[in-house]
Amino acid sequence: MTAAGMSAALELRNLRVTLGTVQLVRGVDLDLAPGETLGVIGESGSGKTLTCLSLLRLLPRGMAAQADVLRLKGTDLGGLDEAAFRKLRGRGIAMIFQDPVGAFNPAKRIGWHMRAVLARAASDGAWQRRAAAALSDVGIAEPERVLRRYPHQLSGGMLQRALIAMVATLAPDVIIADEPTTNLDNIIEQQILALFRSLQQRLSSALVFITHDMRVAALVSDRLAVMYAGQIVETGPAEAVLHRPLHPYTQGLIATADALASGAAQLAEIPGQPPSVLDPPAGCAFRPRCASARAGCEAPQALRSPGEARQVRCLLYD
């Protein structure tokens, strides 16, 4: 991985998330340069959302996160107490959730939410003008009217835009977007992805974009990280991972997507199910589903570096 030390927007080493004796995230490293977008790909149970929630200290009750290193713009987040960390949320690191409806207080107007955020960004008093401008920047027509609307009066796509406007206003060092287009229709999804790309031009924030859709990730990301069973199994430049996937799991995901897109008669399948977090297989977690599994796979696998800027957790690359 690239970008370390003071210049990194985010530096995470060996993150572990546990629920009692169950290991949900098993040693994740992330590095983000300012302005860089990392696409994190994984299915349910892969630990991608928990990884991001632990960055914000928003893990559900009962779960605990530990990391050897967690630095935001060089600041060690591990040493911050809750009061100091709260100041960091929003301006230092902010999150865009999958369900925009749940991100708003249903009893308050959009303007109320925008005002709360603008107060954090040191308001000059004329919050309405600035709020309307922020909504306008994310492509919302008639922003003054929208400010007076309640969340339930807006569509999912509009709400997601408003949420993105709030985060953009804060211009945080790191933005985490967790499946921000998964609940949206194709057409709206395209619009929101385009909005993310324009945001990348406008802000210098680093972006972590979580998705289960390889192709969506490739559209917005500089680099990709593929997660499986609580670990990163492959990272690399987005184009390289998409066109030359190394890990058998990544290869399977891409083969399925390619077969669907090309209108094949039979889809390439990954057999079996994602492993249960309660009882993950020893060694490589993908082994029971892997056509290339061989002697040695039952031992824990380290990340290998088979090419420039690429890493893969698979013994095929020894």
Partner: protein, 248 residues
């Protein structure tokens, strides 16, 4: 002239609340022949799920007609519908909420068969959809999403229906499992010749599975035609926009 398996004539479904009436399905006419796979695509709110549920008479239409195997079921009461239900089954989007959490999978599969007088061993039904016999003793929460969706497809198939309505049946599944279920649906169709009304917002999935595709928007069926034709030369501007969103 042979009657198609399913025929909808100018179907209108309205919902009313104290403030207004919403026309969720607005004059839809279409046919599904025996062995056909018709895909319905459209955004959320376009009326495709309402249409699907109305086909199964889970909703009562405001006007229009529904003919299943030539029989008008538009205004049938529940008692008259019940014996017909085995001919048209449904697979829902969320497999977990379509099973009773307190019933084992075996019981969930056995009850509809008993009600409709079908004598088929539960292990055979499980085997049809690639599940081991031991799953009969498990509860829904002990199965993964993909395994549960297999069980739901098995439950629908066990009654040997002429039509299965599948509403976003693969959209909640993990990517690595989705292909398994799509291949399963295709195999089931090839082996049983069952017709499918397949509702999806995913155009790739629709193209993979469906012989014909209907595009819905705001309760209306904008266009309907053979899959290749809709993809190659969409007739409606909205369809072109929708196809333009395919990420390749």
């Amino acid at each position: 002239m042979t009657e198609p398996l399913l025929r909808l004539e100018e179907l209108v479904v309205e919902f009313a609340d104290p403030h207004r009436r919403v026309r969720a399905v607005d004059g839809v006419s279409l046919e599904i022949g025996a062995g056909d796979i018709l895909g319905l695509v459209g955004e959320s709110g376009s009326g495709k799920t309402t249409l699907a549920k109305t086909v199964l008479r889970l909703y009562r239409p405001h006007s229009g007609r529904i003919l299943l195997q030539g029989r008008d079921i538009t205004h049938l009461g529940e008692a008259a519908l019940r014996p017909l239900r085995r001919h048209a089954q449904m697979v829902f989007q969320d497999p977990l909420s379509s099973f009773n959490p307190r019933h084992t999978i075996g019981r969930a599969l056995a009850i509809p068969m008993r009600l409709h007088g079908v004598a088929r061993p539960v292990p055979d039904v499980l085997a049809d959809v690639g599940l081991p016999a031991g799953f009969a003793d498990r509860y829904p929460h002990q199965l993964s999403g993909g395994q549960l969706q297999r069980a739901a497809i098995g439950r629908a198939l066990s009654l040997s229906p002429a039509l299965i309505v599948a509403d976003e049946a693969v959209s909640k599944l993990d990517v690595s499992v989705r292909a398994q279920i799509l291949n399963l649906l295709r195999r089931v169709h090839a082996e049983r010749g069952v017709s499918l009304l397949f509702i999806t917002h995913d155009l790739h999935v629709a193209r993979f599975l469906c012989h014909r595709i209907g595009v819905m928007r705001a309760g209306r069926l904008l266009e309907i035609g053979p899959t290749a034709q809709v993809f190659a030369s969409p007739a409606h501007e909205y369809t072109r926009t929708l196809l333009g969103t395919i990420v390749t």
